[in-house]
């Protein structure tokens, strides 16, 4: 088992490393006095730079409709607008794809919780690939739960304790044992979501990464009042960031804490920005809209694997087409002990956990 191999986290995975990067970035921003980076699209009109392409772009972007319902011509214009704005804002050639999901495909994911070592490389690969806000707000689509292994919560000294206790009225027998009220095994109750260990895996704990479960019956899609979030025909739940009104009903509905909100203007350093983007995927978001894992729509629609899967050092993550019996996911489903997280909510996730 890979758990025996302890893997030291690299410097760059530490919060300190991020802090360093931010300071350097701020210095650079101050030096070059480029305001386009921090300016919100809404106030970009105030930018007096002569070559600022944002002014007309912002107004047109404001009046654009739901992307799915646009004509091909409108889509082309919307994409061109975004590419122009992003290229200027991040000072590098940015592409925004709107490639459709392949036909005859239902994307699915499987994660081996017995292999996961909690290194959070998937989290950071995801942040990098998907252009999340680095700080204020810090947005991470994957959250890794660190849970104590069950066999450490029982003690012999609690054997005689419990309820009701023995008293002068007599011994009626303990109805609630002294070792009650302690969680064991897979439970969110004592899960640590913000552990900061030097070395992983911690031997008394196991790990479970949680991200969007891409439900077949997603409660978030049902809750959205403007249909900004929807399920595409490959089964992935996506968001039109330009249509989202920021009411956060989807976040309320989600039983997996998978959705993240841009509480403020996202802070995405230009040098760390990934310029290969997709309209529904990793293009830079704006303040006040929801975002979440898209199974790396910009990669998977072109036949590549999600970034989190590529980053996993122990091969705990499998991705593929659920309709193809030869895919990794289908093989896992056929041969391993598989479960869905919180299946009692009736959301039918296409994200499976298994014990390998």
């Amino acid at each position: 088992m890979s758990e025996e191999k302890n893997i030291a986290l690299k410097e760059s995975d530490e919060p300190d490393g991020l802090e360093q990067g931010r300071r350097e970035f701020l210095k650079k921003v101050c030096a070059s006095s480029v305001s386009a980076l921090v300016a919100a699209p809404a106030v970009a009109g105030a930018n007096t730079e002569a070559d600022n392409p944002d002014a007309d772009v912002t107004v047109a972007e404001y009046f654009q409709g739901h992307f799915l319902l646009m004509s091909d011509e409108e889509k082309k214009q919307a994409i061109a607008r975004l590419e122009k704005r992003y290229s200027a804002q991040y000072r590098k050639k940015t592409t925004v794809s709107d490639v459709e999901a392949p036909d005859g495909v239902l994307f699915g994911y499987a994660l081996d919780i017995s292999k996961c070592i909690g290194c959070r490389r998937c989290v950071h690969a995801c942040v990098k690939e998907n252009n999340q806000s680095r700080h204020d707000p810090t947005v991470q689509w994957i959250q890794v739960m660190k849970m104590p292994k069950g066999n450490i919560s029982f003690t012999a000294e609690n054997l005689d304790k419990g309820y009701p206790a023995k008293s002068e009225f007599g011994d009626y027998g303990v109805q609630v044992g002294g070792n009650a009220y302690k969680t064991a095994g897979l439970s969110t109750e004592d899960a640590q979501n913000y552990y900061n260990d030097d070395v992983v895996p911690d031997k008394d704990f196991f790990y479970m990464p949680v991200q969007c479960q891409q439900c077949e019956k997603p409660p978030c899609v049902k809750a959205c009042p403007v249909r900004a979030t929807f399920r595409d025909h490959a089964g992935v739940v996506l968001i039109d960031y330009n249509w989202c009104i920021g009411c956060r009903m989807c976040q309320l509905a989600c039983p997996y804490h998978a959705r993240r909100f841009n509480w403020g203007e996202p802070n995405l350093p230009a040098e760390e920005m990934n310029p290969k983007t997709h309209y529904f995927g990793n293009r830079p978001r704006m303040r006040g809209v929801m975002e979440k894992c898209t199974f790396c729509v910009q990669r998977t629609r072109e036949g590549r694997d999600p970034a989190c899967m590529e980053a996993c050092p122990v091969g705990a993550r499998k991705f593929g087409n659920l309709l193809d019996p030869e895919s990794d996911v289908r093989k896992v489903l056929a041969t391993k002990r598989v479960f869905r997280f919180k299946e009692e909510f009736g959301t039918y996730p296409k994200f499976f956990y298994y014990i390998g």
């Binding site: 919100a40 809404a42 106030v43 404001y62 739901h66 319902l69 204020d136 707000p137 959250q143 739960m145 439970s187 969110t188 109750e189 004592d190 899960a191 979501n193 949680v210 409660p219 049902k222 809750a223 959205c224 009042p225 403007v226 249909r227 900004a228 249509w243 989202c244 009104i245 920021g246 009411c247 956060r248 009903m249 976040q251 309320l252 509905a253 989600c254 039983p255 997996y256 804490h257 959705r259 993240r260 909100f261 841009n262 509480w263 403020g264 203007e265 303040r287 006040g288 809209v289 929801m290 919180k342 909510f345």
Partner: protein, 419 residues
């Protein structure tokens, strides 16, 4: 058309005329409005990051206050219904006060929702035809419809009654055929906005504290207590400062409604607490967090017990005749306590604790930021400013002090006012 202009002119000039206390009250509201303009600007330019909300506790105090405005707005029908359904003459004459309260509070609630939204500039996305409303799937789309229709119904009702009284033709035979249906529709619509608002919360299966069938009942009983509590205070102030006659029987009826709404609320709380706490499954976690705290996080605990104590205390107090008839001291005090207890119940019991534990087991305390506080005060100050001014003008019309010159020939006889 000239009549409409002179109506607006006479109404406004009467509404802004008053004594020293009146101006002091309006000025204090203007203070919060001015400060609020600044804090609202900060929120609009920087985003909701200036509030205390996080991905864990995603609803801020704006949403909590919105639920409370829905309480009061829905309860305003309790003034209208006795007049129009049970033909209580005294209440029928002042029914318009209830409609004004409903109108202003729905508008205030909608303003709170605009503050709650991450992109208020994209509100048009929900308007059918130019945008796309996810109807009938999204509960928020239902809420949008019922709130706006309720606002419209009350605006029509209020302006029609006031205008007709202003020109002196508010008689049974001179009223439009659509007026009665509108009034009855508004009476039915009041509880409806409230039930739908409860469903907006209850539809989220993952927030276990809300996923309960008693939520609409809790909302309606709290509406029945908080709305009339405000209306009793309005009635008492009107009696004190104006010539308008509001009889004690009308106030007594409101007091009875408050008392027994609180009585039923006790049962609703008991039912919920028992059902949740006896088996003590994961559904009880957020209630236990609210009641006793969790591993040192006990920010909500004093608020919980304080609110419950205030509600139980006011219920018991209102069972005493001495309190109910103490119109100049104990009754207004009790009404104030009920109003604020239910206002505080919204963030501190209903909304914030419900988010802990989160789906991944996190416990989070919510701390309101200063900017958020002033934005909440901004919306309330706006609401109470409109409420005061519209009520003042309406009272001028109801007492006959504001009349169209052609109507001056009639004696300001309120007896003819009823339909």
């Amino acid at each position: 058309m000239n009549t409409v202009i002179s109506f607006a002119k006479d109404f406004a000039s009467y509404a802004f005329k008053g004594g020293r206390v009146y101006y002091a009250w309006l000025l204090s509201l203007v203070f919060f409005i001015l400060v609020g303009c600044y804090t609202a600007y900060i929120q609009l330019t920087q985003g909701l990051i200036v509030t205390g909300a996080t991905d864990q506790v995603t609803l801020e105090s704006f949403f909590a206050n919105f639920v409370f405005t829905a309480h009061v707005a829905a309860a305003a029908v309790l003034v209208v219904a006795p007049g129009y359904i049970y033909h209580r003459k005294d209440l029928k004459e002042i029914a318009v006060i209830g409609e004004i309260v409903a109108m202003v509070f729905v508008a205030t609630g909608i303003t709170f929702i605009l503050f709650h939204m991450g992109r208020p500039d994209r509100t048009w996305h929900i308007v059918p035809l130019i945008g796309h409303m996810n109807f009938p799937n999204s509960m928020l789309s239902f809420d949008t419809i019922v709130l706006n229709v309720y606002l419209l119904l009350n605006m029509i009702g209020v302006s029609y009654i006031l205008f007709k009284k202003y020109v002196g033709t508010f008689h049974e035979k001179q009223l439009a055929v659509w007026f009665r249906p509108i009034v009855f529709l508004a009476i039915a619509w009041g509880p409806l906005i409230h039930i739908v608002t409860a469903f907006v919360l209850a539809s989220n299966a993952r927030v276990e504290a809300w996923s309960t069938a008693v939520l609409p009942f809790a909302f309606l009983t709290m509406a029945g207590a908080s709305g009339p509590a405000l209306i009793v205070m309005i009635f008492l102030l009107t009696r004190k400062f104006t010539d308008m006659e509001i009889g004690y029987p009308a106030i007594d009826l409101m007091t009875t409604i408050i008392a027994w709404s609180l009585g039923i609320l006790m049962l609703v709380f008991a039912a919920e607490f028992f059902t949740v706490l006896y088996p003590s499954t994961e559904h009880a976690d957020s209630l236990k967090f609210n009641m006793f705290g969790h591993k040192g996080l006990n920010h909500y605990v004093p608020w919980f017990w304080g609110t419950i104590l205030a509600l139980v205390g006011s219920f018991i107090a209102l069972l005493f005749r001495g309190v109910r008839h103490s119109y100049d001291r104990w009754l207004p005090i009790t009404c104030l306590v009920v109003f604020f207890a239910i206002l505080i119940e919204k963030p501190m019991i209903l909304v914030f604790p419900a988010f802990s534990p989160s789906p991944l087991g996190e416990y989070t305390e919510y701390h309101v930021t200063l900017i958020e506080f002033f934005n909440v005060m901004f919306v309330w100050a706006l609401g109470f400013f409109w409420l005061t001014v519209i009520l003042k003008g309406a009272i001028g019309i109801l007492t006959g002090e504001v009349r169209h010159h052609s109507a001056l020939a009639f004696a300001p006889d309120r007896a003819q006012g009823g339909i």
